[in-house]
Amino acid sequence: MTRAEAVALVLSLLADEDIVVAADGAITREAFRAHDRQRTFYMLGSMGQVASIALGLAMTRLERVVALDGDGNLLMGLGGLAMVGGLKPPNLYHLVLDNGCYATTGGQPALSRQVDLADVAAGAGYRWARRCFDAQHVREAMEAWLGAGGPALLDVAIGAGDPDPAPRVPLTPERMAERVRAALASD
């Protein structure tokens, strides 16, 4: 499964009111290309902070907050995972698109092949944490993840290659933030 397929699949399974935090780098660009939505926050930098931003949203909102993370990104900010596991926001759903490397910077290997991120999440206190490295079962794994009680983490294997990289998101960062804030303020 490619990153593009995994991102398109998860976005197709979400409800309109769900709030998404898309990890800086290829994931944010892919999320914009697959399905731009007012309630998606596109990160440009601050690698390692996907779970922390999602946690701030989950603590202040009733809607489901879906963090679209990468394996290298999550490894950089494991403290954020500890905060989610410790505080247990029931509306936080954490998806790791795991290609085992730093694809954006040239494919250098990450330690996610040695560190089982679902085990780490379970140890930190997530109520549900699974790994799905079998492309045939990703859809049912995502459905189980979204149906579980949160906080829930699903670690999904994706291919390391990037045959058709998505372009940068054509919005200013100020606009990216204002759009999400306005969409949430209109409730």
């Binding site: 440009l44 930098g45 701030g56 949203l57 954020g80 990216m176 999400v180």
Partner: protein
């Protein structure tokens, strides 16, 4: 421990969410935070995660503040520069002011450069004073919101009120 006049003043200015890592100079302030509702105070494990969580809370519609020791500003720099300062996110900060002459060695290098560090990244700062809690709070909240950027109150040991 009596209530934190500093935290109460900030809440009176509209602060509804606090994330932070404790400092011994901010004992009274953090004691007040622990009395806040569980969805209003995030006990962060490191300062960069605290300021990132404040962005999430702000996107969600809450006025958020981060509190930390000045040593934690080092951890925050990547997030402040590639999140708050480019997305235009207001962030009042309560930062302890360690590193005065006579403080322990581990506080001196960053402590003696805290003001310079904030100025280098265009973050306005003000020294908090015991007795001025309401004016301090009004300054840090209004400066952050008007300039759409972080602004810092530097809190010395005697200003943990």
């Amino acid at each position: 421990m009596s209530p934190s006049r500093r935290l109460d003043a900030l809440r009176a200015c509209g602060i509804e969410f606090v994330a932070g890592v404790p400092c011994s100079y901010l004992k009274r302030f953090f004691a007040g935070c622990l009395e806040m509702p569980p969805t209003a105070f995030l006990p962060a494990v490191r300062e960069d995660h605290a300021v990132a969580a404040c962005v999430g809370a702000w996107l969600g519609g809450r006025r958020a503040l981060a509190a930390m020791q000045n040593s934690g500003l080092g951890y925050c720099l990547e997030v402040l520069t590639s999140l708050h300062l480019i997305y235009g996110v207001p962030l009042p900060l309560v930062v302890s002011d360690r590193g005065a002459p006579g403080d322990y060695e581990e506080h001196l290098v960053l402590g003696q450069r805290t003001r310079g560090l904030l100025e280098l990244f265009g973050i306005p700062w003000r020294e908090a004073r015991h007795g001025d809690e309401e004016a301090d709070a009004a300054w840090v909240v209004s400066t952050a919101e008007e300039q759409r950027r972080p602004a810092a109150l530097l809190v010395g040991k005697e200003a943990d009120s």
